[in-house]
Symmetry: C2
Protein backbone atom coordinates (compact mmCIF):
# COMPACT_ATOMS: atom_id res chain seq x y z
CA UNK A 1 0.00 0.00 0.00
CA UNK A 2 1.40 3.39 -1.02
CA UNK A 3 1.29 5.81 1.91
CA UNK A 4 0.96 9.46 0.93
CA UNK A 5 2.48 10.68 4.24
CA UNK A 6 5.73 8.90 3.35
CA UNK A 7 5.96 10.75 0.02
CA UNK A 8 4.97 14.08 1.59
CA UNK A 9 7.74 13.60 4.15
CA UNK A 10 10.32 12.83 1.45
CA UNK A 11 9.29 15.85 -0.63
CA UNK A 12 9.45 18.23 2.35
CA UNK A 13 12.84 16.89 3.41
CA UNK A 14 14.19 17.22 -0.16
CA UNK A 15 13.12 20.87 -0.33
CA UNK A 16 14.58 21.60 3.10
CA UNK A 17 17.95 20.03 2.25
CA UNK A 18 18.00 21.82 -1.11
CA UNK A 19 17.75 25.07 0.83
CA UNK A 20 20.50 23.91 3.19
CA UNK A 21 18.28 24.41 6.21
CA UNK A 22 18.01 22.47 9.45
CA UNK A 23 14.84 20.98 10.87
CA UNK A 24 15.13 23.56 13.65
CA UNK A 25 15.16 26.49 11.22
CA UNK A 26 12.15 25.28 9.22
CA UNK A 27 10.20 24.28 12.34
CA UNK A 28 10.75 27.74 13.85
CA UNK A 29 9.77 29.51 10.65
CA UNK A 30 6.64 27.35 10.23
CA UNK A 31 5.77 27.60 13.94
CA UNK A 32 5.63 23.82 14.41
CA UNK A 33 7.38 21.63 16.99
CA UNK A 34 10.74 20.32 15.81
CA UNK A 35 9.94 16.74 16.87
CA UNK A 36 6.67 16.83 14.99
CA UNK A 37 8.29 18.11 11.77
CA UNK A 38 10.94 15.41 12.09
CA UNK A 39 8.27 12.71 12.37
CA UNK A 40 6.41 14.17 9.39
CA UNK A 41 9.61 14.12 7.29
CA UNK A 42 10.17 10.47 8.21
CA UNK A 43 6.60 9.60 7.22
CA UNK A 44 5.74 8.62 10.77
CA UNK A 45 3.02 11.21 11.33
CA UNK A 46 0.17 12.47 9.21
CA UNK A 47 0.51 16.18 8.60
CA UNK A 48 -2.56 18.39 8.98
CA UNK A 49 -3.50 20.57 6.01
CA UNK A 50 -2.75 23.73 8.00
CA UNK A 51 0.75 22.59 8.99
CA UNK A 52 1.51 21.32 5.48
CA UNK A 53 0.64 24.76 4.09
CA UNK A 54 2.71 26.41 6.79
CA UNK A 55 5.79 24.23 6.16
CA UNK A 56 5.55 24.71 2.38
CA UNK A 57 5.37 28.45 3.02
CA UNK A 58 8.43 28.29 5.31
CA UNK A 59 10.28 26.43 2.54
CA UNK A 60 9.09 29.03 0.02
CA UNK A 61 7.69 26.37 -2.27
CA UNK A 62 4.08 26.55 -3.54
CA UNK A 63 1.85 23.90 -2.00
CA UNK A 64 0.84 22.82 -5.51
CA UNK A 65 4.49 22.02 -6.28
CA UNK A 66 4.74 19.89 -3.14
CA UNK A 67 1.55 18.03 -4.09
CA UNK A 68 2.66 17.63 -7.69
CA UNK A 69 5.92 16.06 -6.57
CA UNK A 70 3.99 13.80 -4.20
CA UNK A 71 1.75 12.64 -7.06
CA UNK A 72 4.80 12.04 -9.29
CA UNK A 73 6.39 9.89 -6.58
CA UNK A 74 3.20 7.92 -6.01
CA UNK A 75 2.90 7.44 -9.79
CA UNK A 76 6.47 6.14 -9.97
CA UNK A 77 5.68 3.64 -7.21
CA UNK A 78 2.45 2.64 -8.94
CA UNK A 79 4.34 2.34 -12.21
CA UNK A 80 2.01 4.70 -14.01
CA UNK A 81 3.16 7.35 -16.41
CA UNK A 82 1.15 10.52 -15.91
CA UNK A 83 1.00 13.13 -18.58
CA UNK A 84 -2.07 15.34 -18.77
CA UNK A 85 -4.52 12.49 -18.71
CA UNK A 86 -4.57 9.10 -17.06
CA UNK A 87 -3.78 6.48 -19.68
CA UNK A 88 -5.38 3.13 -18.90
CA UNK A 89 -3.26 0.04 -19.32
CA UNK A 90 -5.24 -1.27 -22.29
CA UNK A 91 -4.95 -1.18 -26.07
CA UNK A 92 -8.08 -0.73 -28.23
CA UNK A 93 -9.08 -3.93 -30.07
CA UNK A 94 -8.99 -2.09 -33.43
CA UNK A 95 -5.37 -1.15 -32.90
CA UNK A 96 -4.35 -4.66 -32.00
CA UNK A 97 -5.97 -6.00 -35.17
CA UNK A 98 -4.32 -3.35 -37.32
CA UNK A 99 -0.91 -3.97 -35.77
CA UNK A 100 -1.16 -7.70 -36.31
CA UNK A 101 -2.07 -7.11 -39.99
CA UNK A 102 0.99 -4.89 -40.46
CA UNK A 103 3.32 -7.46 -38.96
CA UNK A 104 2.19 -10.11 -41.47
CA UNK B 1 -4.57 29.39 3.14
CA UNK B 2 -5.16 26.50 0.73
CA UNK B 3 -6.22 23.37 2.62
CA UNK B 4 -5.24 20.11 0.97
CA UNK B 5 -7.99 18.14 2.76
CA UNK B 6 -10.62 20.30 1.03
CA UNK B 7 -9.21 19.44 -2.40
CA UNK B 8 -8.80 15.75 -1.52
CA UNK B 9 -12.46 15.71 -0.45
CA UNK B 10 -13.59 17.32 -3.70
CA UNK B 11 -11.55 14.91 -5.82
CA UNK B 12 -12.87 11.84 -3.98
CA UNK B 13 -16.46 13.06 -4.25
CA UNK B 14 -16.03 13.78 -7.99
CA UNK B 15 -14.77 10.25 -8.64
CA UNK B 16 -17.55 8.72 -6.56
CA UNK B 17 -20.27 10.67 -8.37
CA UNK B 18 -18.70 9.86 -11.74
CA UNK B 19 -19.13 6.19 -10.85
CA UNK B 20 -22.72 6.85 -9.77
CA UNK B 21 -22.08 5.42 -6.32
CA UNK B 22 -23.42 6.40 -2.93
CA UNK B 23 -21.34 7.26 0.13
CA UNK B 24 -22.67 4.05 1.67
CA UNK B 25 -21.41 1.89 -1.19
CA UNK B 26 -17.91 3.39 -1.23
CA UNK B 27 -17.64 3.39 2.57
CA UNK B 28 -18.58 -0.29 2.69
CA UNK B 29 -16.14 -1.21 -0.06
CA UNK B 30 -13.31 0.78 1.56
CA UNK B 31 -14.21 -0.49 5.04
CA UNK B 32 -14.53 3.00 6.51
CA UNK B 33 -17.38 4.52 8.50
CA UNK B 34 -19.95 6.32 6.35
CA UNK B 35 -19.93 9.41 8.58
CA UNK B 36 -16.15 9.63 8.40
CA UNK B 37 -16.09 9.35 4.60
CA UNK B 38 -18.78 12.03 4.40
CA UNK B 39 -16.69 14.38 6.56
CA UNK B 40 -13.59 13.66 4.45
CA UNK B 41 -15.50 14.48 1.25
CA UNK B 42 -16.66 17.76 2.76
CA UNK B 43 -13.09 18.64 3.76
CA UNK B 44 -13.99 18.58 7.43
CA UNK B 45 -11.65 15.77 8.45
CA UNK B 46 -8.06 14.96 7.58
CA UNK B 47 -7.85 11.56 5.92
CA UNK B 48 -5.15 9.13 7.02
CA UNK B 49 -2.83 7.77 4.33
CA UNK B 50 -4.19 4.26 4.85
CA UNK B 51 -7.81 5.32 4.43
CA UNK B 52 -7.01 7.52 1.42
CA UNK B 53 -5.37 4.53 -0.29
CA UNK B 54 -8.33 2.35 0.65
CA UNK B 55 -10.94 4.81 -0.69
CA UNK B 56 -8.99 5.35 -3.94
CA UNK B 57 -8.88 1.57 -4.31
CA UNK B 58 -12.64 1.31 -3.69
CA UNK B 59 -13.16 3.95 -6.39
CA UNK B 60 -10.81 2.06 -8.71
CA UNK B 61 -8.70 5.15 -9.32
CA UNK B 62 -4.91 5.08 -8.83
CA UNK B 63 -3.77 7.06 -5.80
CA UNK B 64 -1.37 8.97 -8.04
CA UNK B 65 -4.31 10.18 -10.13
CA UNK B 66 -6.10 11.41 -7.00
CA UNK B 67 -2.95 13.25 -5.87
CA UNK B 68 -2.35 14.67 -9.33
CA UNK B 69 -5.87 16.09 -9.41
CA UNK B 70 -5.35 17.50 -5.93
CA UNK B 71 -2.14 19.23 -7.05
CA UNK B 72 -3.90 20.60 -10.15
CA UNK B 73 -6.67 22.05 -7.99
CA UNK B 74 -4.21 23.59 -5.56
CA UNK B 75 -2.27 25.04 -8.50
CA UNK B 76 -5.46 26.57 -9.91
CA UNK B 77 -6.16 28.19 -6.54
CA UNK B 78 -2.57 29.40 -6.28
CA UNK B 79 -2.81 30.70 -9.84
CA UNK B 80 0.20 28.76 -10.95
CA UNK B 81 0.48 26.93 -14.24
CA UNK B 82 2.28 23.65 -13.72
CA UNK B 83 3.82 21.85 -16.62
CA UNK B 84 6.86 19.72 -15.98
CA UNK B 85 8.70 22.42 -14.13
CA UNK B 86 7.64 25.13 -11.75
CA UNK B 87 7.72 28.48 -13.54
CA UNK B 88 8.45 31.33 -11.14
CA UNK B 89 6.33 34.43 -11.39
CA UNK B 90 9.14 36.63 -12.68
CA UNK B 91 10.27 37.88 -16.07
CA UNK B 92 13.99 38.09 -16.89
CA UNK B 93 15.27 41.70 -17.06
CA UNK B 94 16.58 41.14 -20.60
CA UNK B 95 13.11 40.20 -21.79
CA UNK B 96 11.50 43.24 -20.21
CA UNK B 97 14.02 45.53 -21.94
CA UNK B 98 13.47 43.83 -25.28
CA UNK B 99 9.69 44.01 -24.97
CA UNK B 100 9.77 47.72 -24.13
CA UNK B 101 11.97 48.35 -27.18
CA UNK B 102 9.49 46.52 -29.44
CA UNK B 103 6.56 48.55 -28.14
CA UNK B 104 8.25 51.83 -29.06
Amino acid sequence: MVLVRQEIGDVLRTHRLRRGQTLRQVAARASVALGYLSEVERGQKEVSSEILASVADALEVPLSVVMREVSDRVAAIEGIYLDDTYIPDTVPDAFVTEASLISR
